[in-house]
Symmetry: D3
Subunit: 134 residues, 6 copies
Amino acid sequence: MATVPMLSDDQASPESCATFEAIRAARGTDYVNNFWRALAHDPALLAATWNRLAQVMAPGALDPLTKELVYLAVSVANGCDYCIHSHTAAARAKGMSDAQHAELLAVIAMASQTNALATALSVPVDERFRVTSP
Amino acid sequence: MATVPMLSDDQASPESCATFEAIRAARGTDYVNNFWRALAHDPALLAATWNRLAQVMAPGALDPLTKELVYLAVSVANGCDYCIHSHTAAARAKGMSDAQHAELLAVIAMASQTNALATALSVPVDERFRVTSP
Amino acid sequence: MATVPMLSDDQASPESCATFEAIRAARGTDYVNNFWRALAHDPALLAATWNRLAQVMAPGALDPLTKELVYLAVSVANGCDYCIHSHTAAARAKGMSDAQHAELLAVIAMASQTNALATALSVPVDERFRVTSP
Amino acid sequence: MATVPMLSDDQASPESCATFEAIRAARGTDYVNNFWRALAHDPALLAATWNRLAQVMAPGALDPLTKELVYLAVSVANGCDYCIHSHTAAARAKGMSDAQHAELLAVIAMASQTNALATALSVPVDERFRVTSP
Amino acid sequence: MATVPMLSDDQASPESCATFEAIRAARGTDYVNNFWRALAHDPALLAATWNRLAQVMAPGALDPLTKELVYLAVSVANGCDYCIHSHTAAARAKGMSDAQHAELLAVIAMASQTNALATALSVPVDERFRVTSP
Amino acid sequence: MATVPMLSDDQASPESCATFEAIRAARGTDYVNNFWRALAHDPALLAATWNRLAQVMAPGALDPLTKELVYLAVSVANGCDYCIHSHTAAARAKGMSDAQHAELLAVIAMASQTNALATALSVPVDERFRVTSP
């Protein structure tokens, strides 16, 4: 159960409905998922979050699927169950194959393991990893 | 300072030295970074970690750079400073451009933000994200 | 489902029931929420946790609502779903308005984002943030 | 050591320098701290982060000091050392007393402890914490 | 709901079924729990995870119950609800008493609290904790 | 650098000095480590933390070394560098052998990996892990 009511189109303010419409237009679907309906109580936060997300996830130096895989990996590491479900679905919608999903999971598992070891050992950063001035 | 001594080639056991050699051969460099030298006290853990890493990070359904970006993203979310440095360096060695690095950071920041919001709101998972049986 | 049975007043030991009574008296309600009933198997841990909580959350240099907002923010960052629900309810009971809740969420989201960026960039602490001796 | 060079005013692009100037104007100080200099490689991320931060931390339903305390609490829970230092300094600059700092730490410690217990026990959320429809 | 279908014996590949049989043989039970059935889509990841787990959790310098307690503690700190349930059950199956469970919870709570305090205070590591060379 | 000055015996209040003496007496050493000196600004928090720690870590249903191993494991999972160093040292002082340390690290790495996988897969808890009423 959410800690706030999730607003339907009838319950949301005109500002929040405008963001719902922007989400529908960008995604080519009438469905607005629960995350946005839960944010709709705060039209400014809803709009700021959606607008920034649209910018960040747009094609650029990284392709959209790679960005989804990274988003999903962060969501796993942060233990956000909602985000894991929504971004697994989003990655599939952007073409993630079962084989890619499986490799993604293997990389996440590997990183989690070596993160724990490096932290437990408090390994000092190698001098050669130092970034030089521009 | 590490919680264990980091072993030089002279200090490491023959089993650990064999893994050092495997690392050198796979990477085409004589340099063995601190993480492996810290693990060298436990030759079995060192070998198991390296062997699994080599399998997981090999080219497959995902290309090596994508895997590095995911690895780096997990390391940031887990707050492992050593891993952030080593995998930023590894991603650059595999071709990560400054623009790709910048977009990676933007995606990680975005995910961290929406992870926190979805968690704070305890948003229920949408029924349509449900996976159907095979 | 909990990993231990939650004890009713009939099932709890006299020591645990005494803490239940202290909770009821402090809060002016007969209801004892699930967290305390799950802790009731260990009367010493139950009493130690409640007693310390009562001390820490009492009015002091910070007012009780501010303390609840901080408690809620930590619970979000730690991803504790139970605590998010119980402390959202507690903050509302102590007067948190919808507008305050919305701003709290915005601050948590902002912090989560810049935490990730500062960690990813491994930004060194500025010398001027150094605390001087007393 | 940072994973990117931190840019001085001479090294930063005109767009990044414009954000530096906005930071100086808002804070009434010539000093631009390391976080912003590390972000300066990506003028768009730098500007987006600063602009959103300025909005979120402005006085509103919550006063600026309360927002800083929440920001600091999240940074502690996320283990961001840079952010802990910068927001401890910011909270002091906004009037946090030693007594308030001490109480903040006590609340963070308390929340961390009960978060762990509620998670370990997997306590189910009480029905009465459910939010009713608007 | 899982992000992948969980495979029954009829649905799993021969390779995955072979790992199911290894799990059954090692545990002396016909029951294969959901974690392994969710991993079964990737026979290589399933086998690698099980084989490594069997090695790591085998009796050695630490007894199996101690290893389970550590595993459970890590799972709590990482907020993995599934793992908390499965390893609480495993620890009980290996002899964890109610009193041991209660003390384990008290240690986890204590560590979570002092972890937060040491992080918030950014306490420098004492020179005498430094490990000397071999 | 700490976010508060660490207090010497000369700088600390009589109440804090009394806790320093309790620490010395319990440990049989004159050395008071930095964590307690950083807490000394808040004599009540210092005393509450030390007194609870002494209770929790005392021999009971679990032996002191097992408790230290759990404490260390939690500290690794929470990424607390200070705590990792202090509790690695404490575990060694209580008899942790190199072989036990190595196995501890292997269990922590294994748990971190399967925690990530179970979270990424959102594996539902098996019905048979359900705890029955007393």
